[in-house]
Each structure stands twice: as C-alpha cells, then as structure tokens.
Symmetry: C2
C-alpha cells in the first residue's frame, strides 16, 4: 500500500483532502501542528478525522510559530470579523502566518523521507482562499522542486516527492460537494479562527464566513454550531 | 542598518558565516534550534557566538525533529567514528537529518518576514561537506526561489529574500583562515556530534575529523579540548 503524508488541521479543506487521498488508495500518515493557535479545538477535530480515515498514524508536532510573531492567529492581534467577500478576497489578512505552509511542508517532507512516502497531500485552494501566497500553484510547484533537491532519498533516486493539491482549483462549495460524495461528516470538522470558550464557532471570522458561504452555495446545511 | 537572519549552530561554519555577515554591515538576528540533539553544548556555544557578534537577538526555537526519527543525531543510532576522508566524502552518513536545512531555513524565512529582513545567512559548504544534499548550491537556489513565492512581503514586493552562503565554495581550512582574519575565536565554537559528559569533543566523529583536518590544513592549532 502506498503511503501518503497528509497535512491536517481538522478543517473542511484538509479533511476533504484526506478523504480524497484515502479514496485514491493511500495509507494515511496524518500530520498536525500545535503552533500557538488560540485554541486546541482544531487539533481535537484533526484527531477525530484521522481516526475516521483509518490513518496509520497521526502525529501532532509542537512548534513555536508564536515566538516569531506577526500573525493574529498566534499573537495578541484581534481576528477580523464580519468582513465582506470582497474584503476577504482583496488582500492578505492579519490571520496570515508568515511562511506557515513552508514550515508545515518542510516537516511533512522530513517525515515522508523517514517513512519512504513519495506523496504529500495539502488542502490548499487558490479559489476561495483568503489571499495567502502559499496556497498558489506556483508556490507549491517551487516547493516540490526544492524538495527533490533537499533530501537524500531524492538525490539517491529512491524517492521522487510529489505534492498533491486536489482542491487547488475548487471552490469551497465544490470541496464540500466532493467530500459529501466521499462520505465526509463535516460535523466533525472545525473551521473557526476564534471560537468561544465552550468551543462554538464565532460565525463571523473569515474562516466561518467562507464555510457558511460554501455550504450555502453547495445547497447543503452546515452542521456547525455557531453562537456565543 | 540592514538586518540579517543568521542560522547558528555554534560550530565553525555558522560562526564564520556570522562574522562575515557582521563584517558586511548587517545587524544580526541569530537563530538556533533545540531539535533533540544529543547534547546542549552546541546551543551554549551558539549563545556565546551570538553575544560576541553583538547580535540584536538570539532566538532558540524548540522543534521536535527527533519525533520524526531517521537520524543518528536525533535517534538512538550510533554516531560513526574514525572514518577516513574517503568514507566521509563518499556517501551520505547516518548523521544526516531528513530535511534539516529545509526546516531551519523555513523558520528563518518566517522570522525574516516578521523582521522585514531580506537577507538570510547559512553556513553550508559543498566542499568539505559530509555529503548532505541540502548543502549544495542548486538546493539553496531552489529554496530561495520558493521563498519569494511563499511570503506575503515578497508577493507584495516589499521584500526580496536572498540566501547568502558565503562558505559554499570554501574548504574547511579556507573557512578557518577567513574566520581568523575576522577575529573569530574558535575556542568558543563546538563541532562534535557526540561529546563526552564533561563536554569534551570526542575527536573521532566525522565533525571532529573534519575540524581537525581543517586546522591542520590551515596551519593553525585547534583550540578544541579533545578527549574522553
């Protein structure tokens, strides 16, 4: 059985990506990070999702992105609320975490070499995205190219790294539709950047707004519990 | 004053690289990692080196490379001893850590964006190296290319990342000679992969052997205390 390292945040995109990797016949090695998020809820969601996809292993690495500063997701900066779709799509928001996908993919690359797994999956999307540069196809291609120069197994010819981005040209609605076809239970996933203490999604951060819009456009009901 | 993020392990190469960056007029932001090394001695050395170079900041990040496995430097695999120069140069050794420089440079990139520092320095060398693929010029170039697609500041045009590798075409002897010209005290540095409990260098791992050879070829005495 071919192995894949799948980056997992417990949200809609990475969960759908994992379901796709499983559907394509990969043995799943799920990788998540505790990186100074405001909450642990997304890691709980990632653990549920990994278990339901029969992941061979779910590794949660502690990393210290927060000590580098520079993001509302890891520092003491307010998460923006109630922005319009134009706001969200028009500029890179304060929830951007510097080089986040680069750091995540670097660890995925290291683990892939140890596992002798050629395939990495990441649920980036360049359509309904929030303007993050490290979700674009040209970035992913450059990371893949670098990877095959970086590791011993690639240089020795035993492993050729491929980075799979099955969602990259899909809207949030299309992603949800694909996931539902594959049997994903989105009630297990978590999207909110700024949940309440009881774990409810705020309903007004960019991530909640994109989630709501995705379910609405897909013509499906959103199982999320919103509310203060 | 232009800022540079300098990766620092407390060894000869990164210490000389930091002295070069300082000589070129950069304000130094030194970055080291506690990544499951067998010992803390190299971090103590890195702290001394940063202080002596007047670093504005020395950040030591905790990362968990050891949990990924796959290297004698982070797992329970014996460090090879008393290998010949041909052994050392002929193949990639078990002290190779999967994707190590990729992970290190990814954090350096993130910090550089937060600091608005365009310049990263890393003391890789493709000459007297131990066969590590992530020390070669083509790898560094690919990482630099990826970096400028990865971060918000590059995409918005406010920062263009350059990765400086001033040692890449130098032998260990040339590196030491350059460092001595710049006033580096190599007595403060630490190279050994497998020091004794009292902190002495073993004298027989690849890193000690390359260090000894470098001093011998430079015609200088090695200030290191070797011994069991």
């Amino acid at each position: 059985m071919k192995k894949a390292v799948v980056l997992s945040s417990g949200g809609i995109d990475s969960t759908t990506t994992m379901a796709i990797a499983r559907h394509e016949g990969y043995e799943i090695f799920a990788l998540s990070f505790r990186y100074g998020q405001r909450h642990e809820i997304e890691l709980d969601a990632a653990a549920r999702v990994a278990a339901l996809n029969g992941a061979k292993e779910h590794l949660i690495l502690n990393i210290e992105l927060g000590r580098l500063g520079g993001s509302a997701l890891t520092a003491d900066i307010d998460v923006p609320k109630d922005r319009t779709a134009d706001d969200i799509e028009g500029s890179i928001p304060v929830t951007y975490v510097p080089a986040r996908n680069t750091i995540f993919l670097s660890y995925a690359l290291a683990w892939a070499e140890v596992l002798q797994a050629a395939d990495l999956f990441i649920g980036v999307t360049a359509v309904d995205y929030s303007g993050y540069p490290d979700c674009r196809p040209e970035y992913i291609k450059a990371f893949e190219n670098m990877s095959n120069l970086a590791i011993k197994a690639a240089v020795e010819g035993t492993l050729r790294i491929r980075i799979h981005t099955p969602l990259i040209h899909m809207t949030k609605a299309q992603i949800i539709q694909r996931g539902v076809e594959l049997g994903v239970d989105y009630g297990l996933t978590h999207s909110c950047y700024d949940p309440t203490e009881s774990g409810s999604a705020c309903g007004s951060c960019d991530s909640c707004l994109l989630r709501k819009k995705g379910f609405a456009e897909a013509g499906l009901s959103d199982p999320t519990q919103y509310g203060r």
